[in-house]
Amino acid sequence: MAVVTKTEPPPRPPRRRRLRYRLQVMRHDPTAALGLILVVLLAYLVVAPLVAVLSDAVRLQYGDDVHTGQQPGEWTGYYLWRVFRSRISTLLFWEPLLNTLVVAVGTTAFALVLGGGMAWLVSRTNVPGRRWLAGALVVPYMLPSWTFSLAWLSLFKNERAGGQIGFLQAHGIRTPDWLAYGALPIIITLGLHYYPFVLLLVGNALRRIDAQLEDSARILGAPRRTVVRRIVVPLMLPALSSAVLLVVGRVLGTFGTPYVLGLPVDYRVLSTGLFQSIRDRSTGVASVLATVIVIIGVLIVFTDMRLMREQRRFVTVGGKGAMDRPADLRRWRRPACALGLLVFAVSVLVPVLTLLLSTVTRTPLDLSTFTLDYWIAERLPGAVGFPHGVLRGSELWEAAWNSLRIVGLAALICAILGLLIGYVVVRGTAPRIAGFLRQVSFLPYLIPGIAFAAASLSLFAVARGPVPALYGTTFLLVLVMAVTHLPYSSRSGIAAMIQLGREPEEAAQIAGASWWQRMRRIIFPIQKGALVTGIVLPFISGLKELSIVIMLTTTGTQLLTTLSIGLVDYGYTQLANAVVLMIALLSFTMTSLTQRLTKSSLASGLGG
């Protein structure tokens, strides 16, 4: 009989012995090694670019030594001065900053009113066809964000910029510059793209509000209006603030729309300013701008997380009482439905039809000038850079193949990385490594894509050590695209692995399966579904991606999105519209197919 009273724990064996033992364990369980590899990889792909862009912002670049009298590579405040305090800083920074703010505030207000109203309509009222509306009103988010800006130009463009004039101008109605270009159209077109975002976030929150909370207030004698003001709105605040901050964050990093609609009147925002600086090869200035965008992006997401944490305290959202009891609109039912249809028409039908018709008419939207030349003609007179219909020649097909290849590969890498990160985190053999992976894989979420692309350019544009210069290679595109989508896939990978737990793998281990066998026969087969969603969601979002790739593509690595923007630059409106239509079609089909097949909602892909 062993009777043991409290004993002191025995002394640990010497460090060397313990190390030898740990090595033995690691030899048989590669989790720790895998974790270490992932740490190095993420440090290199996520952290290093940020460090590089930061260092580029405060060190003298080649070619600028004549201005400063310093040696290239030396520490310098020259770029900071140039961006913030010099004579051209208004042009470089302050004006774009102001414009960005105007666009952000305007877009957010627009999206909030439209999205919030529609959210209420489809989730809390008995509007006819609400289910259909709920699905249809999300469609704008499936289209590339600058689809709307091209459609806008097709309608309102005047002769100020080159290329075909818009519909109104063609019919003799002069469109002033403020209507054709600049802040107003940017706000409207971006708002049309982002309101589904608000609709999804606010709609979810509205659906989750416990009807009993409203009932209680009404039983206590509060009139309907008071209930809304005192109960519903405060409960909606977290979702609202989240929607606001996320829309602001997206607007900050968006490139296509301000480029298309802002350039003709020199209306610059931070993202287009950054692009311009890179194009002008003023790396130092670009680095400062990228850093500013990164900082604003990080601040926005942190504020959002902070608010969410604080507000979670009073969000009572009880699952059971959340009854679906829509407000009766009575005689307003039909008008409300008409309003919903109108929003759908304005945000989907009008832009898409405008684009479609513009590609098949010589005079904008005039069906008497119907032609299929822009699609299939072998020779297009006057179009020097692209002298044939989009479906002819090799440009479109090459770009499509590049898109498919590059985005597909990135999505695959992303999904596998996500699952592996989840695996290391859940195995928990190395808590510190797991913590690092969790946080660093989330980091790109904080950073607007265009700034991250600029940062990657800082690191990879020149040869560093054994790594050759990667600018212009598909490899760089794949890397950056995979990394920017990593937050979503690593989150879903971690969630999937946590849900699975360690036990199925341990059971296989006990049954005698080696690590490879466990991966091949147990982990990956079980996570097949998660893997597929992990590939498809980044793939769809990558197909539409412009902000990230615009700076990284060269003529050799044209993607569908950059091809379309290139055609805009040439002034080949119809051809650009045709390409963007194809992207929209592709992305819409894939999204709805995936939604139908995997029953995953688009909302989960938003990361909101």
Binding site: V4, P13, E503, E506, A508, Q509, I510, A511
Partner: protein, 365 residues
């Protein structure tokens, strides 16, 4: 069949608290050893260390003379090479494989040829009575069936050491009873060494040949089940094993009331005895006229709680509340004053270790 030896095994997470502290334990060849203790006592960690799923911070683990873990010598054999069987608390069946594939998996890993694999899997499933569910998937099975499949999956590879981590805790009462008998039968038929983790003392007492009680990462007592019940090594074991638990009366520096009465009785039997605390099991506290040699006292009946086959009576004896468990009908009503007497008393010293017990039939040390 091998014995399992743990010597000086400790496990701490991140250098902080010890989950297991300096554990010396020998599981004899062919034993059915129960690791018993409250949650967080380190019993599951111990089991997982034997399986190789976790690694000790110090110490040595050997099975059948073969060292599997030795921090000091830098030896580590991974779980997949230990050839043991482990049933998880949540069964951990692979959801993407059918019942048959689940059971065949271990054989496949051991490169057993197809026909033999099928027949051995069928045999294992037959042994646990789920042969009809062969082609279904785990999600289509009831909890009891899943549990049996998990057992069959382990039995199919015919391991010499079986490890069970609270495998019955997710089953309902009837199934649990059935599976207890089943496990006992499997133990007898296979002759394997079994280590079974549970927090349910009834499971430990009914199935095990040896029970190791753990608390706070330390081994409290290692004994045969009835021995443990009759002679708990310390206050922890005394209070943990037995239901309702043993009442322990502390003497304190100036014993008064019930404590004084008990001490007077103990001294009258053995003048050298200086217990710091005296324990009475509810089933050893009897009601009615005492036999001459036993401790007895007047008691006020506070409540009578019938439970079908037994009656629990709450008594106030001097200043203290005591419970008596009776297997014969209790005729007293609340408010009655009756006599109670003790069939057996357990004596503990100041650090809680058992000194001896007083028994009506014999006085043992």
């Amino acid at each position: 069949m091998p014995n399992i030896t743990l010597s000086g095994v400790s496990k701490s997470y991140g250098g902080g608290d010890h989950a297991v502290r300096n554990l010396d334990l020998v599981v004899p060849d062919g034993a059915f050893m129960c690791l018993l203790g409250p949650s967080g006592c380190g019993k599951t960690t111990t089991l997982r260390m034997i399986a190789g799923l976790e690694q000790p911070t110090t110490g040595t683990i050997a099975v059948g003379g073969r060292t599997l873990d030795s921090v000091e010598q830098g030896i580590y054999v991974p779980p997949e090479k230990r050839a043991m069987g482990l049933v998880f608390q949540n069964y951990a069946l692979w959801p993407h494989l059918s019942v048959r594939e689940n059971v065949e998996f271990g054989l496949r890993m051991r490169k057993v040829p197809g026909p033999e694999r099928r027949s051995r899997a069928a045999e294992a499933l037959k042994m646990v009575h789920v042969e009809t569910a062969m082609d279904r998937y785990p999600s289509q099975l009831s909890g009891g069936q899943q549990q049996r499949v998990a057992l069959a999956r382990m039995l199919a590879v015919n391991p010499a050491v079986l490890l069970l981590d609270e495998p019955l805790s997710n089953l309902d009462a009837r199934l649990r009873l059935e599976m207890r008998a089943e496990l006992k039968r499997i133990h007898e038929e296979s002759g394997a060494t079994i280590v079974f983790v549970t927090h349910d003392q009834l499971e430990a007492l009914t199935m095990a040949t040896d029970v190791a009680v753990m608390s706070d990462g330390e081994l409290q007592q290692l004994a045969a089940p009835m021995e443990m019940y009759a002679r708990p090594a310390n206050r922890f074991v005394a209070e943990f094993v037995g239901s309702p638990p043993m009442a322990i009366v502390d003497a304190g520096p100036a014993p008064a009331g019930l404590a004084a009465s008990l001490l007077r009785f103990v001294r009258s039997r053995d003048t050298r005895a200086v217990p710091a605390a005296v324990g009475i099991r509810p089933e050893a506290l009897r009601l009615g006229a005492p036999p001459g040699s036993a401790w007895s006292e007047e008691a006020l009946v506070e409540a009578v709680l019938p439970a079908g086959s037994s009656w629990t009576v709450r008594l106030r004896v001097l200043d203290t509340e005591l419970y008596a468990l009776s297997y014969t009908p209790v005729r007293a009503a609340p408010g009655d004053v009756i006599t109670c007497w003790a069939e057996q008393l357990h004596l503990f010293d100041a650090d809680g270790s058992r000194i001896s017990s007083w028994d009506r039939s014999e006085v043992s040390a």
